[in-house]
């Protein structure tokens, strides 16, 4: 199986401070990985760097997408290759409506107009299509708006930054449905899901979405990788503190 994402010894700095150190990560085509870790461990930094946000400066290492080095590509080029990101705290843009972003997407893929319209109905997005993007939306609405944009753009590799944070159980179920729709099988590849990377602090989203593998980040590195359910059970029972101790023990040993 080919790897859709391969990150090799990646170092990323923000405002001159290195936040990711020699990080390695591989996501095979068709797999969905979960990224766990305590606050400040570098999860958001990693996905912002993969998406190509210039504030997240790659100082060393490589990001390969579908085998090609994309480390020097800008955000637009990466988005057009099929890298999508739903942010945890996206910016609002006065006067720019969600509908205008959709219009842009549809203009580039007119054959999908009907499908996107159907998705807006199915996930109850219609009522904020004409609002300024991300403005005056609740936490749950922002998650849905972000995921809906990913559904509309249909990226080959979807990254989601804490789709489960700050929302109630009912909203979580809807968000879970949206993530599953986003990662659902592609028509041309009946045995494969779309690849993705889901950041979750609490792991709640994994009650709704199957992840093939999980990674625990600590201090800008992947400290541990394995079965999502086992890792999540450990975190739920013992907290991240135990994970940290275990990782440190292994590093020393």
């Amino acid at each position: 199986m080919t790897n859709i994402l391969e990150i090799k010894r990646l170092c990323v700095a923000v405002d001159g401070e290195e936040l990711l150190h020699d990080l390695d990560l591989t996501v095979p085509e068709g797999e969905v990985h979960a990224l766990l870790g305590p606050n400040g461990s570098g999860k958001t930094t990693l996905v912002m760097a993969i998406a190509g946000y210039p504030e997240y400066r790659v100082t060393a290492g490589q990001i390969l997408f579908d085998g090609d080095d994309i480390t020097e590509l800008d955000i637009t080029e990466r988005a057009r290759l099929g890298i999508g990101l739903s942010q945890q705290r996206p910016p609002s843009i006065a006067g720019v409506r969600l509908q205008q972003v959709l219009d842009y997407v549809i203009a580039n893929a007119p054959q999908r107009a009907q499908e996107i319209d159907g998705l807006a109905k199915a996930f109850q997005i219609e009522r904020f299509l004409d609002r300024d993007i991300n403005a005056a939306l609740s936490g749950g609405e922002i998650k849905r708006s972000e995921l809906f944009q990913l559904l509309a753009t249909r990226p080959r590799f979807a990254m989601m930054d804490e789709p489960d944070s700050g929302i109630d159980l009912e909203a979580l179920a809807l968000v879970g449905d949206m993530v599953n729709a986003l990662l659902s099988r592609e028509a041309a590849r009946p045995v494969q899901r779309r690849a993705g990377l889901i950041i979750t602090h609490t792991g709640q989203i994994l009650d709704y979405v199957h992840a093939d593998k999980a990674h625990i980040m600590l201090d800008g590195r992947i400290g541990c990788s394995g079965n999502p359910h086992i890792l999540l059970d450990t975190i739920r029972k013992h907290g991240y503190e135990e994970c940290i101790r275990c990782i440190l023990r292994r590093q020393k040993g």
């Binding site: 637009t76 057009r80 910016p91 006065a94 006067g95 720019v96």
Partner: protein
Amino acid sequence: MKVLNADSAKSPSGPDLGPDRYLTTPETPTPAVISPDQVEPADAKVMASVGVYVEGKGRAGTYILRDFHTLCLAAQSDDVELLPIAGALQQYDWLRQKYYWKAVPADLDKYTAQCASLPEPQGYFVRVQKGAKVTFPVQACLYIAQGNIAQAVHNIVILEEGAELCLITGCATRYGVSSAAHLGVTECYVGRDARLTSTMVHSWGPNVEVRPRSGTIVEEGGAFVSNYCSLRPARSIQTDPRTWLNGKHASAKYFTIILGSQGSTIDIGGQVYLNGEDTSAELAHRAVCTGGHIYQRGLLVGNAPCQAHVDCAGMVLDAGKDGFIQSIPGLMALHPEARMSHEASIGKIAPEQVEYLQSRGMEEREAISLIIRGFLGGDIVGLGPELDARIAEIAELAGHGEE
């Protein structure tokens, strides 16, 4: 009529301009009036860029002034009376007595004086009679095809009681005409319960100097909406249109959109005198500065129980060392029940907004254009297709730079 020496009464704001630097009277004989569809294609293209379509489709009337002469005059609706101003003055004695130079004083400054000094005024006269609601807009183009002239125009618009009209005035220079002056006087009279929407679009050559002088009087229940859009910055534009809301429940809305670039000075004001009970006024300035100097002014004067708001917002994009926007919203409450407010903000595009849209696949320039478009018109409801198209054009120009 008192006419000042053109060298004496300087305008209180804007760079001083001597009309005597320009040719002020025609050197060629008066050309024949032609049908709009006979306008030369190159000129028609420029006119279309400021919202004036020579095909006349979807328009109730067309007036085109080229340099010093009426080029086209076509009224396509029985509800609209459209004449050259000189002809209207000949035809109607009451026009001179009641309206001519009554909303804009001839001695306001040297530019009005220049207009008043001409032996035969040029410009349009539009009248909509009592109760007539004109479905399609009337369009007028004030066009400069010859360089180094000072085009002086005097327009009068009269809406009688209960009448409704949309007026689109496009002002432009022919491609290749760099230097000229445009002095424009426009007097509007909005009768009781009448509604006038005036959309003016400017697209001038880089060394054109523009001095519009406008005055509007609104009677009881009347509504005046003024949209002004400057697409391609002239060397200097200075205007401070005034509106008097004299009747109860009269209202005025001004919305201006300015694109400034290096070497230009654009000074856009707006004064509204709220004299009638329960009158309301809203003045919104939006400017994008890619260089040059932009001044946004607004003065609302509450002489009665009224509501008024002025809002100046500017966005600065790669304006260089000398580029700036200065916002000067002003309020004067002369009545204890005058409720008035103002706001002003100037900023730049936040990079995270651009990057966010890029993450959806847009090019950086496309993202900037969309953000500018939102800034210019996103919070103003019901601008209509004409202004929407112009906003899109400004956003495109500002986002992509002039190429």
